[in-house]
């Protein structure tokens, strides 16, 4: 084997080794790499309910209820298969709203509801001008009638 070929094999082996270890490590810590759990995963018992975790999904349409005179808000997080009622007291990010993605950090209660300590808005990958959004909304309304 020429020295050049040796160096080629060496660097190939090192990269392959690091790639395999990274894949194994990420696989082993899979649960910790997830930023949030969906209501379906929680229903299936996959979420670490004994400690705090993040719940992610969409804010269900028509579910947001504010308590007069306080910062407390109740809403339902859904992935359209399962739903979890969430209660939160605090300031909300700009993008929070019904039909929008949300990530809530907190604890699952005995009764299956979720008490959040922090609310983050999750933006999706769609960008469009307001007119297009309105047209889409009209189209969807016409489709459901």
């Amino acid at each position: 084997m020429t020295p050049r070929r040796q160096r080629m094999v060496l660097i190939g082996l090192v990269v392959a080794g690091v790639a395999v270890s990274a894949a194994l490590a990420l696989q082993a810590f899979r649960e910790n790499v997830l930023f949030f759990f969906s209501p379906t995963e929680i229903a299936a018992g996959n979420a670490p309910v004994e400690r705090g975790f993040r719940l992610g999904g969409m804010v269900a349409d028509g579910s947001v209820a504010r308590t007069e005179g306080s910062l407390t808000i109740d809403f339902v997080v859904t992935d359209y298969a399962h739903s979890i009622p969430v209660s939160y007291t605090g300031v909300l990010p700009d993008l929070f709203g019904e039909g929008q993605g949300v990530v809530a950090r907190g604890q699952l209660n005995e009764d299956g509801s979720f008490t959040a300590e922090e609310i983050l808005a999750k933006h999706d990958e769609n960008y469009m001008p307001p007119e297009v959004a309105e047209a889409l909304e009209r189209g969807r309304a016409a489709g459901t009638q």
């Binding site: 910790n32 930023f35 993008l95 001008p129």
Partner: protein
Amino acid sequence: MGLKRTFHLLGSPPTVYRLAGLLGPWVGIGAVILIAAGTYGGLVLAPPDYLQGDGFRIIYVHVPSAYIGLMAYVLMAVAAAVGFIWHMKIAHAVAVSAAPVGASFTFLALVTGAVWGKPMWGTYWQWADARLVSELVLLFLYLGVMLLRASFDDRDKGDRVSAVLAVVGVVNVPIIHYSVEWWSTLHQGPTIAQLDTPSITMDMLVPLLTMIAGFTLCFAWLILKRVQAEILDRESRARWVEQLVTGASA
């Protein structure tokens, strides 16, 4: 034979120096024109987003920066591997040149992301997000390669050792790219990776693609200039450099 000849020509410092000098101005002019056009398109022509209003416009810096940050790493790793395997000095010079430029664009992507994240997500930074953390690891890889190289007095040794780290770090590139698909993340999924059905309207997309092209040329221009400087530094004792310098000053 043609390929081998090209390879040998690209290994010749004076040839590469002259080639970079010839290409540089054109690439630079192209970068200025495209970035100016993309900036006008992004700030003036593109409509505001239905949800984020004008806040979405940071995409015109954030996405191109993140893209260059990744592309620069791939270039650095490939150049480092070529330099390591074939003991090609020009390849090491390219790897040296790419590192600080890639680190700067990666830093820019992290900062613009954080500035956007605060009002939109409600947070500057989340340690549990796979996309955010893997992008930070990219910055540390760049800094690690630069520091490792700088810690050797012997330039050849520094080239070889830092090349190994640069090549190994390439494992992080697909992790960054696919992090938003493999795991649940706060960071949104790709908007323009699937070019047949982009999740963005044309009037917003065209300025973005213009900016990406402009940033790419800007990156190429920076690399050409830095490779020239690196060659002069490495070949400072060579006769052709002496002739170049005395010829220019005469």
